[in-house]
């Protein structure tokens, strides 16, 4: 529900374009379809990976380690003899699952925090603001390393620290949406009719912030994938032999100088593709957020 909605309903019913149509209008069908299509294809591939006729991604074969790409192993094999193609596909599940859950957690904490901050204002707002700024100025990878070194190297902790970095992003975003809305008519109306401040926040303000959150979400997932891959590259996060792009790149890293490029290059390409699709999507979704006059 946008602020303009009320007046539109009183007028003769106009055809309201769907989100998809608005995207196409803004960016062109080719771009939108390409991005959405490829992204959905990647996610679908990840979902059905165990059902596909792929070699077992965790079946070691030391007799066939570090074999270059061939008809039998499309992406070659890694130092353990694992099939790189199969692992690259299976890693979609790992990376997407971890990043989506981290960002979701960050959203679930950040959005209410930002809304409360923006709505209540004053000292609390200031405090949350300052803390957000400080967190955003932190060297993320280093701090992630430090936290995992102290709290233990588990997948849960990886998700938590990535979520932690997403909280200020969404808090700030929601706050900036909420601030101008504080004194808008329908909110005042809600307040006057006796709703408690909390319900005003949750039932009237937050829904307005959803659109920017949704448009930012894929971009955050892109950053989360990169952070998780980065942490895995230095040995934090997933344990062997779970396929994950960063860990795969790390396993192949030592062999690049010997011209054995395939264990690291292919997972990296998959990573680049996923990240660019996600950030592209976010970029395109921004159009939905701009206010109509």
């Amino acid at each position: 529900m946008t602020p303009g909605q009320v007046s539109v309903q009183l007028a003769p019913v106009l055809h309201r374009p769907s989100a998809y149509q608005r995207l196409v209008t803004a960016h062109g069908a080719l771009r939108v379809n390409l991005t959405l299509g490829l992204l959905l294809a990647v996610i679908a591939l990840g979902l059905i990976a165990p059902l596909l006729p792929l070699p077992n991604p965790i079946k070691p074969d030391p007799f066939n380690s570090l074999k270059p790409p061939s008809a039998e192993h499309w992406f070659g094999t890694d130092p353990n003899g694992f099939d790189v193609f199969s692992r690259t596909i299976h890693a979609i599940r790992t990376d997407f699952a971890l990043s989506i859950s981290s960002v979701l957690l960050g959203v679930l904490i950040g959005v209410p925090l930002g809304a409360i901050s923006g709505y209540l204002g004053g000292v609390i707002d200031n405090l949350i603001n300052r803390v957000s700024e400080v967190i955003q100025g932190f060297p993320q990878l280093l701090f992630g390393m430090a936290v995992l070194a102290v709290a233990g190297n588990t997948l849960v902790n990886v998700v938590l620290i990535t979520a932690f970095y997403n909280v200020p992003v969404y808090a700030k975003m929601v706050r900036s949406v909420v601030l101008p809305l504080r004194d808008v008519e329908f909110v005042q109306a809600a307040r006057l009719s006796g709703n408690s401040p909390l319900s005003v926040v949750f039932r009237h303000i937050i829904p307005n912030a959803l659109l920017p959150v949704v448009s930012q979400f894929p971009l955050s997932c892109a950053y989360a994938v990169q952070m998780i891959a980065g942490l895995s590259f230095i040995g934090l996060g997933v344990q062997i032999p779970i396929p994950e792009w960063g860990a795969m790149i790390q396993q192949g890293a030592n062999y690049v100088v010997f011209s054995k490029w395939w264990p690291s290059v292919f997972p990296g390409l998959a990573l680049v593709l996923s990240v660019s699709l996600l950030s592209s999507l976010s970029d395109q979704l921004k159009v939905l957020v701009t206010r109509r006059a």
């Binding site: 430090a146 690049v256 010997f258």
Partner: protein, 343 residues
Amino acid sequence: MLASARSWGIYLLRRLVYLMVSLLGVSIITFSATRLLGNPVYLLVGTTYTKEMVENMTRELGLDRPVYEQYARYMANLLRGDLGQSRYTFNPVVVDIQRRLPATLELATYSLLLGALWAIPAGALAGRYRGSLFARLADFIARTGVSVPNFWLGLILIFLLFAAFHLLPPPLGRIAADASPPPAITGWYTIDSLLAGNLNTLWASLKQLVMPALTLAFTTSPSLFQITRNTTEAVYSTDYMRTAKAFGLSPWTITRYALKNILVPVLTMLAMTYGYLIGGTVLVEVVFAWPGLGLYAVDAMNHADYEPIMGVVLLSALFYILVYLAADIINSMIDPRIRMEGI
């Protein structure tokens, strides 16, 4: 005159307060992370210990005291410059950091320069000539830069430029294997070589810098590019620019006006990028065996030595805040309005 000095005074005071608050925030977060998430005693006492050693260390570290007292001790240590001791180099963390900092600074600075060399002119041109082929190409390069993980890009560069085509030397650190580092004055191999008048060493160090600096430049310059492009576009489409053009002012004058307005956001982004780079070189340092702060932190982590990591985190956060503050001050010199603004 007095009014200007007064506004400067208030501005600087405000900025100083913010600096203190940020530093306080950083210290609280790092303190909490250590004390609340793990037990520092077991992290510090090592692998062979007795019950008495644990109890002694607990008392020594003040862990049996209330939290606020512990925090006070922590801050006192920080202000004294005591960041703890590394359990595997056996040096105080400050000493180790002093030794490793120039390597990271050198790499970060060259990366920033390389990135800015490309991003700012390209961004300005792309913003000025929106929709042109150049703008679209530059945009594509920037997007790729955001999506590519820097550690992977480093490996690709190593494979292409070293392993496959032998254009650059192997990624073995800051200087070629058969050359010795120049006598240390600043700790920057390039500057020290120049100061020593040794062109061979300069060349050997520059060759080693190419790949890691390129990697970092490529992945950190996109934001510079975008900010420059967006600001340029915005500035050129303002009324007063169009007015200036209509008045027939020379292109150079118009460009000067534009630059002054573009400068502020770009400078801010430069500062943020530089601040990010100090903590952000970690993975690239690992890939290129670059003996800087990042590699130091990773080595510490592999030895379950958490104090060096925290030291590097604090330093990076401090650096970021300071660089940001410096940029802010420079910006307010360029644009006095910033001084007047509130939060």
